[in-house]
């Protein structure tokens, strides 16, 4: 039990993620979390305005069930399977975040500087979350997949489009962290 309560090492977590991808393929489906965003748009009636959302979303119900399960899994892991422990970040990361003005680094999953209600109700804080979320939602559909569809499933099946997309993920991420963060914080 003690091993379960500790954070899980990468060499346990990575293969388990592969197993999750494989089990969905075995069930005749595929691992793709961002597709649910399109499905949710369709359910909200976006198909009346845009043909892209006019499809039989009921065929995607299984994936919404995966999302529902993921929420439950997050609840279980956070409340019953975790010791309160600081995230074991590298010393360089701690120093860099301190320089950017972050405090209590790694004491929760998300930094209070961005996700506490105080931060959310400031204009800058709200803009960061809204712009970040918007770019994820736009980019993932443009690229035809996210981390699960391209980085895990696509690379595992040796598909060139997925490799190009993952290179894109890193171009964007590196630009954000190395060039835009120093301006934002």
């Amino acid at each position: 039990m003690e091993y379960i309560l500790q954070p899980w090492p990468w060499y346990v977590s990575g293969p388990l993620i592969a197993l999750i991808m494989f089990s969905l393929l075995f069930f005749g489906k595929t691992f793709g979390m961002s597709s649910n965003l399109r499905t949710m748009c369709s359910i909200s009636g976006a198909g009346k305005l845009v043909p892209f959302f006019k499809f039989d979303w009921k065929s995607q119900r299984w994936n919404l069930v995966v999302v529902f399960g993921a929420i439950i899994g997050g609840f279980i892991a956070h409340n019953f399977l975790s010791n309160p422990i600081n995230i074991d970040l590298s010393q360089n990361t701690l120093a860099d975040l301190k320089t950017l003005g972050f405090n209590n680094i790694g004491q929760s999953l998300l930094p209070p500087e961005l996700f506490s209600w105080d931060a959310v109700f400031s204009i800058k804080g709200l803009l960061i979350l809204v712009v970040g979320g918007f770019l994820v939602g736009f980019g993932t559909r443009y690229a035809g997949g996210c981390t699960s569809g391209h980085a895990i499933t696509g690379l595992s099946s040796l598909q060139l489009p997925s490799l190009i997309a993952v290179v894109g993920f890193f171009i964007g991420g590196l630009i954000m962290i190395h060039f835009i963060y120093p301006i934002l914080f």
């Binding site: 979390m33 399960g69 998300l110 770019l135 980019g139 696509g154 997309a165």
Partner: protein, 138 residues
Amino acid sequence: MGKYIKFLGVGILFGIVLVKSEAVSWYRIFEMFKFQSFHMYGIIGTAVTTGIILLLLSKQLKVKTIKGENLRVPLKEKGFIRYIAGGTIFGLGWALCGACPGPMYILVGTGMFSILIVIAAALLGTFTYGFFKDKLPH
């Protein structure tokens, strides 16, 4: 209802693994893009390596899905612009809010309800893509 139970199970396992591996943490994503820890690269690297082995093995052994069809990964369309441009836009957002779509849902379960704003914005982003889809280079 019964046929959905297995997907619920897969989702629960997914949520637990991503929380326990700390891959849902904004801090870990920051650290990854700073190349300051092996942790996230270890997760993605072992996931992809295990995935390649599982898929090659299942091809060799002609593994069938529960529907009796050959187990196959859907192929992505050929192309370049949509993958590099869409990927870059995605990466900018991923690094800014520290969450890709899977972790967004999972974080709701951990009680981080401000992530709902990110999810709402992601829905708006997806809708906007759908709206401009035919005008964008792919």
